[in-house]
Amino acid sequence: MPKAFTPKVVTANHLLAGDVIYQTVDGWTRKLDEAEVLTDEADADLRLIEATQQVDEVVGAYLADIAVEDGKPVPTHFREEFRANGPSNYAHGKQVDLAPGAYEDAN
């Protein structure tokens, strides 16, 4: 029996900054909780194709597994947790850049 489809988001690295970004309904964001949650497999495949075509904006787009908590996507694997939050050795990188007041839209 084929494995049931689990919720996903489209994620990639930003071409210029290199940092982690997530696809939204109409663009990209650096915050996982703003990402578009994809619950339909055909829809997810289509959204991934659309992302990979944006060769002058994003690099290495793929579908990442997530869970939905309180209506927001959250990581299910520790790798995605670090991608979403930044390095864990000390506070720097994304966790500092995305602190309240530091956010800039990725578009």
């Binding site: 390095p87 050795n89 000390y90």
Partner: protein
């Protein structure tokens, strides 16, 4: 120190100009990522988990104060204010933006540095004993030969698209600090009947299939070095496995064909390559040797040093661990620890880099080395200067007295930065260092090398750690395998796996049980961990780590 010739400078300027144009074409969309990726990798630019990463070569780990200051400037101007020193004696910047990288490369070129061949299936940065030119036990300074190898291998037309990467290390001392037996080619400088030569070791390597290198030539005359190495790399380039990247390294080629057959093929090829070297390479080597002439060591009273030893216990403790005998009795080799307890192993801030540059300039004949153990060396320091150096280092958080001790841990970047990692390395290192520092036990424990890798590729050299830790992903959870008894020196050994892995939370308690077992078993304080392990074997450590298994077996 080697200074770039007009040729080196022109070559680098042209390469940087080409890469700047390639970056512009990538940003404009004229190049796809698939087209751009091999070009950026040829220039040391990776795309990692959170950002681009620029790996800059530090040939044979040697820097001047001007170079170190430039590394600090780059960290501040285009990165996050720090750099990460690696097990190939390189520096990595973890946060550059793509558009800035050509400017970073131009800045490096101003001081004769680059990022060429720090990635890709090429001959990588040649590494050397970090005490080269200073060590009391040295036969000869290996750096002129390492520089010759750098010039020979850089942009070598035959060796740009090889089956896999290729790593060379060289030592001029019988006490191997350069891990020569775990390299594709390891070179040990020898003297026989007054003639200079090399023991050539081939087919060592770590990664998924760890192998200790085998001697292919026990005494290669100095003048034959380049044609002989060219023969080795050429034979492997032809018969090395290109069908499977995990079987592509020369260690597998040597394993599959046998060292005798590889030696026969190399000798056969050497007949051809030898003809192509007319002796110009030896003239170049003589010229290069001129760049590495030892400094004129000052003569001065060492009383300030001996007085400080008597009056300042913290200074004495630091000299006990971080200072090594120099070939000149009034001088010393200083190892600056980048392993402050709880900090990220190998990281240095721009301010710390500038301080090190300044100390090298003031007290150290303008010489700096980076070790594969992710520390910084001042190779030539008059003993009278040691108290001043210690005070300056202390003020900048660089005077941790732990070289060779349990908190002097090699750790790869792991999943905090690296796209290939399967688990984190750095936080494990931080936790171990902090736990043993809290209990003030590490000086009692003595010499003990822990090496941690966050994936099977083994950048953290875990196979050759006295205690090796390998982070893996087990069904979506970080899991750590422990090996014991590894050794990176002239008696190189791959460690023994103790048994099932441990969760991240269980690693520190497991290390504590290993250390407690060692302390119970050692004959006296002079028996180091590795010696006790060799005497007792794995059994008592395994029993301590898996008591439930012992109970089940009884």
């Amino acid at each position: 120190m080697y200074s770039y010739s007009e040729f080196d400078t022109a070559f680098l300027a042209e390469r940087n100009r080409q890469f700047r144009a390639q970056v512009e074409r990538r940003i404009s969309g004229a190049l796809t990522e698939d087209e751009f990726k091999p070009l950026r990798l040829m220039n040391g630019l990776y795309l990692q988990l959170h950002a681009y990463m620029l790996r800059v070569a530090i040939p044979y780990g040697t820097l001047s104060s001007a170079k170190m200051r430039k590394l600090a400037e780059i960290a501040e101007r285009w990165d996050n204010g720090y750099g990460h020193f690696t097990t190939r004696q390189n520096i990595q910047y973890n946060w550059p933006e793509l558009k800035d990288v050509p400017d970073m490369l131009d800045a490096l070129a101003e001081v004769g540095m680059h990022a060429i061949q720090t990635s890709g299936n090429t001959i990588r940065n040649v590494t050397a004993d970090h005490f080269a030119g200073a060590a009391a036990d040295e036969i000869a300074d290996p750096r002129p030969v390492a520089e010759l190898l750098r010039q020979w291998s850089t942009d070598h037309p035959e060796f740009q698209f090889m089956p896999r990467k290729f790593k060379i290390a060289i030592t001029g001392s019988p006490n191997d600090r350069a891990v020569t037996k775990a390299h594709d080619i390891g070179l040990r400088m020898l003297e026989r009947d007054g003639a200079k030569g090399f023991e050539v070791i081939v087919g060592g390597g770590l990664g998924r299939t760890p192998m200790i290198g085998k001697v292919i030539n026990d005494f290669l005359p100095e003048a034959d070095l380049l044609p002989y190495l060219e023969a080795i790399v050429s034979v492997w380039n032809q018969i090395g496995r290109r069908d499977n990247k995990y079987k592509a390294r020369i260690k597998i080629t040597v394993h599959e064909h046998g060292i005798d057959e590889i030696r026969r093929l190399v000798e056969e090829r050497f007949v051809e390559t030898r003809k192509a070297f007319s002796g110009v390479d030896q003239q170049m080597l003589r010229e290069i040797e001129g760049h590495f002439a030892p400094p004129a060591f000052v003569q001065a009273d060492t009383a300030p040093y001996t007085q400080a030893l008597q009056h300042y216990p913290a200074f004495r403790a630091w000299t006990d661990t971080n200072v090594t005998p120099h070939r000149d009795a009034d001088h010393a080799i200083v190892t600056i620890s980048l392993k402050k307890h709880g900090a990220t192993p190998g990281d240095a801030s721009a301010a710390q880099m500038r301080l090190i540059a300044s100390l090298a300039e003031t007290y150290g004949y303008d010489e700096i080395r980076i070790s594969h153990e992710q520390n910084v060396i001042l190779p030539h320091v008059h003993k009278a200067s040691l108290p001043s150096i210690y005070s300056a280092l202390k003020a900048e958080g660089l005077a941790t007295a732990n070289i060779g001790l349990i908190s002097d841990i090699i750790a790869c970047p792991g999943m905090d930065y690296c796209a290939l990692a399967t688990a984190r390395s750095i936080p494990i290192a931080q936790e171990i260092a902090t736990a043993f520092d809290d209990l003030k036990r590490e000086h009692d424990i003595g010499q003990l090398k822990i090496k941690i890798s966050g994936c099977i590729n083994a950048c953290g050299h875990h196979h050759v750690g006295h205690i090796g830790i390998l982070g893996l992903d087990r069904s979506g959870v970080e899991n750590y395998q422990i090996t014991l008894g590894g050794d990176h020196t002239e008696t190189a050994t791959v460690g023994d796996r103790v048994g099932p892995g441990f969760s991240a939370e269980e690693v520190v308690p497991a290390i504590e049980r290993i250390v407690d077992t060692y302390l119970d078993l050692r004959t006296d304080e002079d028996e180091a961990f590795i010696d006790t392990y060799r005497r007792t074997g794995l059994a008592p450590f395994k029993a301590a780590l898996y008591p439930e298994t012992k109970v089940a077996a009884e």
